[in-house]
């Protein structure tokens, strides 16, 4: 199945701003990120505090919904999903 990933702000410094990946049925956000981490050096260090925990500024939207409110890293993915990776900025 195909999933489109978009990256924003500082994530663009280590990965493409948009790509479509062909991933196996049953994939989750966790397996998608593992795939991305295999492709892009430095992404893992940028996103993860520990192996299982995202850094607090990492926000991931699946079709416009924050995965924090879904099943977190175990949020399942479906064909055609759009996953957005963005670090919200906070200054003013």
């Amino acid at each position: 199945m195909n999933v489109t990933v978009k990256s924003f702000a500082t994530f663009r410094e280590v990965m493409d701003r948009q790509l479509t990946l062909d991933i196996p049925e049953g994939s989750t956000i966790r397996t998608l990120l593992a795939e991305l981490n295999g492709r892009y050096n430095g992404l893992n260090e940028l996103m993860f505090a520990t192996m299982d925990t995202l850094k607090d500024f990492v926000n991931i939207l699946k079709n416009g919904r924050n995965i924090h409110f879904l099943a977190g890293l175990d949020t399942p993915l479906d064909d055609g999903d759009l996953v957005a990776l963005f670090p919200p900025v906070a200054g003013g």
Partner: protein
């Protein structure tokens, strides 16, 4: 000086009626920093009748790369007083309510009440969540904007209709004194002011249910669809039930 002449170039876009709406509008600009500077300048210039501007800081030399309300002689002055002076010099018609106060859970209700629109010029998410809750409770729309370096984001929050700030960013990013260039504040502050202008005059389509992400390093902007979280602690069904109970009392 004729006010009519001042707005000659924008009235074809919004009509006399739209200009009158701006004159009657009462807005809160929360924060008088880089974002607040751009927001206040352009909305005062556009003819907004009442601007309440709130900040507790004093002007520092390191503010002057981006906080265009202030000039070198203002260093050491209370920001909102210096801001009032600049805004009044731009337009004698605008009523400025300059309030030197922290925005916290105790002060926020009084600060938002009596306004039609809250505009975000804060520099941290803790204060933004307080404004988000007050916006929902008082049913006053909230234009969120934030910046870092060359990057920025904007969305318009309509209470009960669009996702609230907590739906989009459920946990606050750690506060840091981030690097910033003035023009990023200008870009994002101007997008917030544009949204305010459209909302107040009923022109165009506002940036609702979308999060605009600005990338100044690459000269790109993109808006992402965003959705409400039904059980959001701030705007979800549990919060609404509390709200209904409060209205019944």
């Amino acid at each position: 000086m004729s006010s009519d002449e001042r707005f000659l170039r924008q009235i074809p876009l919004i009509g006399e009626e739209g200009q009158e709406k701006l004159k009657k509008a009462r807005i809160l600009i929360a924060g008088a920093g880089g974002l607040g500077s751009a927001i206040a300048t352009y909305l005062a210039a556009a003819g907004v009748g009442y601007i309440r501007i709130v900040d507790v800081d004093i002007v520092e030399n390191s503010n002057l790369n981006r906080q265009i309300l202030y000039h070198e002689p203002d260093i050491g002055a209370c920001k909102v007083e210096a801001a009032e002076k600049t805004i009044r010099a731009l337009s004698h018609d605008v009523e400025v309510d300059a309030i030197c106060r922290h925005i916290d859970e105790k002060t926020v209700r009084d600060l938002v009440r009596g306004t039609d629109l809250i505009i975000d010029g804060m520099d941290n998410f803790a204060a933004r969540y307080i404004l988000n809750s007050a916006s929902l409770d008082e049913k006053i729309p909230f234009i969120h904007g934030a910046v870092n370096g060359f990057y920025g984001q904007v969305t318009v929050i309509l209470p009960g209709i669009t996702p609230c700030l907590r739906c989009i960013v459920p946990t606050p990013p750690t506060w840091e004194r981030n690097p910033i260039i003035g023009v990023t504040c200008g870009v994002i502050g101007c997008i917030e002011a544009t949204e305010a202008f459209k909302y107040l005059t009923g022109t165009g389509e506002i940036l609702k249910n979308r999060l605009l992400l600005w990338d100044g390093l690459r000269g790109e902007a993109e808006s992402l669809q965003i959705m409400r979280y039904p059980d959001c602690i701030d705007c979800g069904s549990s919060a609404i039930e509390q709200d209904v109970r409060r209205f019944r009392v």
